[in-house]
């Protein structure tokens, strides 16, 4: 704008007073402005942008979003191409307005492409929308900026809950029936498992396990040793609720899911809830690493979601998305969630409830549950309790950052 004013001043002064040098100066400035406008606009027109699929993102951990910038012009190179990506929480909330992530490339030759990326770190889990993306360039002189909206259709980006670092003994809790997780270990009858090593023959070993070459060399029977796989089947119930305890002698609300009834959580409660979700995500990831494990996940939040999670990528992704989007519900009964979990996993499988609060019998009272009371292997894991807190070493991102 300054340059335009100076050009206008030079033009007027030169025309009125006959100063030809002012006129030539005005001509130069006008020429520069015109060419700047056209060149920047043309670059914006010939550049195409493609977004690479967003990677897995975890709260608090940096991840990269990549884009490919392609110059479709045959002779015009593109310079100083900047991309402004809009990142918006899918659920609007106070203090979380849309933000912009900027990246760019300095030079894209004619007819070729370059990639660019930016790194993000989102503090909270949830679903976010990436895009639309704005392309801009001020090449060459920055007197004007050409802008064009590319990638007009936003895409969803799921930021999964933060993963925790657990102490190695967490696996022992899977086998312990006291004060921790209870896991039914079941030997797999048919498959011997992964080859582990050689040992000498013992009573009970199958003849098929004999390693004849080593036996010939050692002149002793040597057998292959297998790592016996254990198959865990467990139901994880995520208690995503907060609020005051219901008054005595009152039935816990069964379907109180109205937003207006949700009390405002204090920071401690919120942290506890997030910790419960993070623990659930961590356990889910750990358990599904072994392909033979089977986890039933029940998310008891504003909506109750139930799913069986195996080692398949799609399955894990669905579960993590559910955990990313879980919204807190007012504290109420968990019977419906538990029943849904029992229905999928069976009443003889252990059920672990990950909760931000201590166990509340009122929330579990139900005639339906009473029928299964003797068979039910229910463990209430209060993430604020010392045993659970001692299990957590820290955030998985802490060591990396």
């Amino acid at each position: 704008m300054h340059v335009a004013f100076i050009a206008a001043f030079a033009l007027l002064g030169g025309a009125l007073r006959g100063f030809n040098l002012l006129l030539i100066l005005a001509g130069l400035l006008v020429g520069i402005l015109i060419l700047q406008w056209r060149l920047a606009r043309r670059i914006a027109e010939v550049v195409r942008v493609q977004r690479l699929e967003p990677p897995e993102a975890f709260a608090g951990t940096p991840f990269a979003i990549g884009m490919v910038v392609q110059n479709t012009s045959r002779w015009l190179p593109a310079w100083l191409v900047m991309l402004h990506d809009s990142v918006t929480p899918a659920v609007a909330s106070n203090g979380r307005q849309a933000a912009t992530a900027t990246s760019g490339v300095g030079f894209v030759p004619a007819g070729s492409q370059r990639s660019c990326r930016y790194q993000c770190r989102i503090a909270r889990r949830g679903r976010y929308r990436l895009g639309p993306t704005l392309l801009s360039t001020g090449f060459p002189l920055g007197l004007s900026t050409a802008r064009r909206q590319v990638l007009t259709e936003p895409i969803d980006l799921y930021v999964y809950p933060r993963l925790l670092q657990l102490e190695p003994r967490w696996e022992r809790l899977l086998e312990s029936r006291t004060g921790g997780l209870a896991v039914t270990a079941k030997r797999s009858g048919i498959s011997e498992g992964d080859f582990y090593g050689l040992r000498e023959w013992q009573n009970g070993d199958s003849q098929r396990w004999i390693h004849w070459r080593t036996t010939a060399r050692l002149d002793e029977l040597a057998v292959r040793q297998f790592e016996q796989q254990r198959r865990h089947e467990i139901c994880l119930v995520v208690d995503a609720s907060w609020g005051p305890e219901p008054a005595a002698n009152t039935e816990p609300a069964a379907n109180t899911r109205d937003a207006g009834d949700v009390p405002e959580a204090d920071e401690t409660s919120q942290q506890a809830l997030e910790r419960a979700i993070e623990l659930a995500a961590t356990l889910l990831v750990k358990l599904t690493q072994a392909p033979t494990n089977r986890v039933t996940l029940v998310v008891a939040g504003r909506r109750t979601e139930t799913m069986v999670v195996t080692g398949a990528g799609v399955s894990i992704q669905r579960a993590m998305r559910a955990l990313a989007e879980v919204e807190a519900a007012p504290r109420g009964e968990l019977v419906a969630a538990l029943s849904a979990g029992i229905e999928l996993t069976g009443s003889d499988r252990p059920i672990a409830v990950l909760s931000p609060t201590a166990a509340d019998p009122w929330r579990l009272r139900s005639a339906e549950l009473d029928l299964h009371a003797e068979q039910l292997d229910l463990r209430w894991l209060d993430v604020t309790s010392p045993p659970i807190q001692n299990l957590v070493r820290g955030d998985a991102s802490d060591a990396a950052t």
């Binding site: 006959g18 002012l22 699929e53 897995e56 002779w75 203090g95 992530a101 900027t102 920055g142 950052t401």
Partner: protein, 834 residues
């Protein structure tokens, strides 16, 4: 980015210095140039480079306010715009820019310095109309374009840089916010080191790309804009800072011409062309240009003053006379018909210069003719004469075989008003008393010497023509007089200065010699007068014109010879055959008039083009440029010449001089149309054939010789590896195996500063072979290894050349690599199209 910032600092320091230099248009503004250069240099060394001092913003604002208050005092009391006020504006710009230079440089500061430089150029365009403005404008323009494009890159990268000192983590994430507020929110942090690297890598190429892609087009638009814009006023040729040169008035004192001869400024450019074919006409002797005639000598005082006598009524302000046509056509063989074009600089008087006997060719609106004197004067007032240049044309019969005739009929073909004839009772009405006046008591020795010389002549040769020549010879070479411009002789009180020159000093310049001769002629009864003008032999081959400078100012004598007193062998051709004759006599001894060097001549030629095509462009010139008649259209005549030349080329007449000089050339030395056509043809050819610069051509040819790059690998993670390495210039050839490629790539990447790529590349290669050739399905752990390896390579490339400061925390990664826990369900790098 440090390199970019360093480049920006030096660019803007140079801009500030050159902006101040371009303002150095006069003695008053010369100090501004010194201030600008000194402050730019000081700031670059002590503020930008050594970082010893820096003006805080508050102090800077206070300083700017004080400067504004100081400069505004020149506007008080209020008055119409004048040089002083514009000088105050220039002062304000330079001083404020100096304060800006003393501050720590940010993007905003750079912008402000650039704007102030532009304003300085605007002010200089008003003041400085000389060629030095153009010579400084070109580097300023190139520097300005370069600076602005670098500033644009800096503006793009600046918000992405970390604020303050960043602590880089192993995964490429730095702690702390970025400079730009836009890229951060309470819930989101964004960083883009890859973008910073990408912008930094192109810094060295940006200025050249901008200048070469931008400058020619901008110049073309500017020229079209300038020449097509309708003009409503006359051009201000001088600008506010220009001063008219000293001209000749009706009164000339002794020593006045001597002072002029010490000034080398160009006064006019004289083109001589043959009237029949327009070819340049070359002289073998110096050229005399007539300015003023001085008839009266002041005998009373001791100033040596000569004055013009008053013209008779009706003899002044006339149109130029018509061309003389002899009755016998063969008389035309004894004189050359030459057309003269004079481009005259602004002078303090209305004096114009001529080569008589002249006649009009077409209309000559810029000058008027004085009868009996053969003098030209500019139309309009003296003020107009001092503010604009004028170009006028006339024909002349003054030359023959390259020599200027010394005989001039008193009257041309114009009609003498009867009132003039009847005012004088004598039939020789043209005789003026003051042309004969001589006071022997004031110049006794002069008179005696003249008498002695004439007495020594033979009786039959004592006629005015021979006496005039004899006295001329005596003064020039026999009287023992010496030429000098140094006139520091003590003056004898009461003695006439010409007598003093002849008897005591025995040395002086041309005005003394001419005065002595004129007075000696009068002592012998021969009417004489002084003629003040220029005498030059400086020829410029570039413009094919004669250059006349103030140092060429000269005075000579004209002696009046009656027609019947002219010897029969002396014939006057090309002029009327009746009336008295003025005989030109130059008694000044020959002096070494050293021509200027080629550089000076080239500069003068460029100055002439600058004035003609730019500074003096007005409505009249525009119409002449785009006018109807081809003779009035310089552009059209050039294009016609080019077309004619091309026809000759097509007809195979290359060897006949069709393209050298003549038709296409503006001179034998350089052909502007041919050069323009050549440049235009080259540009068109380059666009059509896309011929690149040799460096890039060689690179493309070498790439083709390598049979280009190999096709994208089938496995996505290996393709991603190839994409990561491409910006480093590392590409896999079709003949390379993955292992060979990776070995070379790791080595090359390490050379480019991307360390820690060998091991992850090795991991990727192993996985590639296992999957591609081993029919192996990757496990979850292997997938996570692949992702981790790509992450490490990416981080290493992003931070190549940078030495990350390790944070205090452990650098080992946690048990979970959070970006790799979920098995991929789609190919990595798959794209969502826009």
């Amino acid at each position: 980015m440090q390199r970019l910032e360093a480049l920006l600092r030096i660019h803007f320091a140079l801009l500030a210095a050159l902006g101040g230099l371009i303002l150095g248009f006069s003695d008053d503004s010369g100090s501004l140039s010194v201030i600008a250069v000194a402050s730019a240099l000081f700031a670059y060394v002590f503020v930008d480079t050594l970082r010893l001092i820096s003006l805080p913003p508050v102090m800077a604002y206070i300083a700017m306010g004080a400067i504004a208050a100081y400069c505004i005092s020149d506007f008080v009391p209020p008055s119409p715009a004048s040089d002083r006020q514009l000088l105050a504006v220039a002062k304000l710009l330079v001083l404020v820019q100096a304060v800006l230079m003393l501050q720590t440089k940010t993007r905003r500061t750079f912008e402000q310095i650039g704007i102030f430089s532009l304003l300085e150029i605007v002010v200089a365009a008003v003041f400085n109309h000389t060629l030095s403005f153009a010579m400084l404008l070109l580097p300023i323009a190139a520097l300005g374009v370069s600076a602005m494009v670098l500033l644009q890159a800096y503006s793009d990268a600046g918000p992405l840089l970390p604020a303050g000192r960043a602590v880089w983590r192993e995964n490429g994430w730095w702690s702390g916010p970025a400079r730009g507020k836009r890229n951060s929110a309470a819930w989101l942090e964004v960083q883009s080191p890859a973008t910073i690297h990408s912008l930094s890598d192109v810094v060295s190429r940006l200025p050249l790309a901008a200048v070469f892609s931008f400058a020619p087009a901008a110049l073309l638009v500017a020229l079209v804009f300038f020449y097509a814009l309708p003009r409503t006023t006359e051009s201000d040729a001088m600008g506010l800072g220009g001063m008219a040169q000293v001209g000749f008035s009706d009164t000339v004192e002794l020593n006045q011409v001597g002072r002029l001869q010490q000034n080398k400024s160009v006064v006019m450019r004289v083109k001589l062309r043959q009237a029949d074919n327009g070819q340049a006409y070359h002289l073998s002797r110096p050229l005399y240009l007539r300015g003023k005639t001085l008839e009266r000598y002041d005998f009373r005082g001791d100033s040596g003053r000569w004055q013009s006598s008053i013209l008779w009524q009706g003899m002044d302000n006339r149109r130029l006379p018509r061309q003389f046509h002899p009755q016998r056509s063969t008389d035309q063989l004894f004189y050359d018909q030459v057309n003269v074009e004079i481009a005259l600089q602004p002078l303090s008087t209305r004096t114009a210069f001529s080569i008589p006997p002249y006649h009009r060719i077409g209309e000559t609106p810029g000058v008027r003719h004085s009868v009996d004197r053969w003098l030209l004067s500019r139309s309009g007032s003296a003020l107009d004469a001092g503010q604009s240049r004028v170009t006028y044309r006339f024909g002349t019969h003054a030359f023959r075989n390259g020599m200027q005739t010394s005989l001039l009929r008193a009257f041309g073909t114009e009609r003498i008003p009867r009132t003039v004839r009847w005012s004088e009772p004598s039939e020789r009405w043209w005789r003026r008393t003051e042309q004969y006046r001589f006071e022997s008591h004031r110049l006794p020795e002069l008179g005696r010497s003249a008498e002695a010389v004439v007495t020594s002549m033979s009786a039959d040769s004592q006629h005015p023509y021979a006496i005039a020549h004899r006295l001329n010879q005596f003064v020039a070479s026999e009287a023992g007089l010496r030429y000098t411009l140094d006139l520091s002789f003590p003056h004898v009180e009461g003695m006439d200065p010409v007598e003093e020159f002849f008897t005591t000093n025995r040395a002086g310049h041309c005005q003394y010699f001419a005065s002595a001769l004129a007075l000696m002629l009068r002592s012998q009864g021969i009417a004489s007068r002084l003629v003040v003008g220029y005498k030059t032999s400086e020829y410029s081959p570039y413009g094919e014109h004669y250059v006349v400078r103030q140092s060429h100012a000269h005075v000579w004598v004209e002696a009046l010879i009656e027609a019947d007193q002219l010897p029969p062998e002396q014939l006057v051709y090309g002029q009327p055959d009746h009336g008295p004759i003025w005989l030109r006599l130059d008694p000044t001894p020959g002096i070494n008039d050293n021509d200027q060097g080629q550089v000076t001549q080239a500069f003068d030629y460029a100055q002439g083009i600058w004035e003609t095509w730019l500074v003096d462009m007005d409505q009249g010139q525009q119409q002449a440029l785009w006018g109807e008649s081809a003779a009035d259209r310089p552009l059209s005549s050039m294009m016609d010449g080019a077309a004619q030349g091309l026809k000759w080329l097509a007809a195979g007449r290359l060897g006949e001089g069709a393209l050298a000089g003549g038709a296409l050339a503006g001179g034998n030395w350089f052909s502007v149309p041919a050069a323009a056509a050549g440049i235009g043809a080259t540009v068109v050819l380059m666009l059509l054939l896309r011929i690149r610069l040799p460096g890039r051509w060689w690179t493309r040819r070498r790439r083709r010789a390598d049979r280009t790059v190999g096709a994208e690998p089938q496995l996505d993670f290996f393709a991603e590896l190839c994409r990561l390495l491409e910006p480093l210039g590392i590409r896999r050839r079709t003949s390379e195996t993955p292992r060979e490629f990776v070995e070379g790539a790791a080595r090359r990447a390490a050379e480019l500063g991307a360390l820690d790529t060998a091991q992850p590349m090795h991991t990727l290669t192993q996985r590639y072979y296992a999957i591609r050739f081993g029919n192996h399905s990757p496990t979850t752990a292997e997938r996570s290894d692949v992702r981790a390896a790509l992450q490490r390579i990416r981080a290493s490339i992003d931070h190549r050349g940078k030495s990350p400061e390790r944070g205090g925390e452990s650098s080992e990664r946690g048990g979970e690599s959070s970006a790799s826990v979920i098995p991929s369900r789609t190919k990595p790098g798959s794209e969502t199209t826009s």
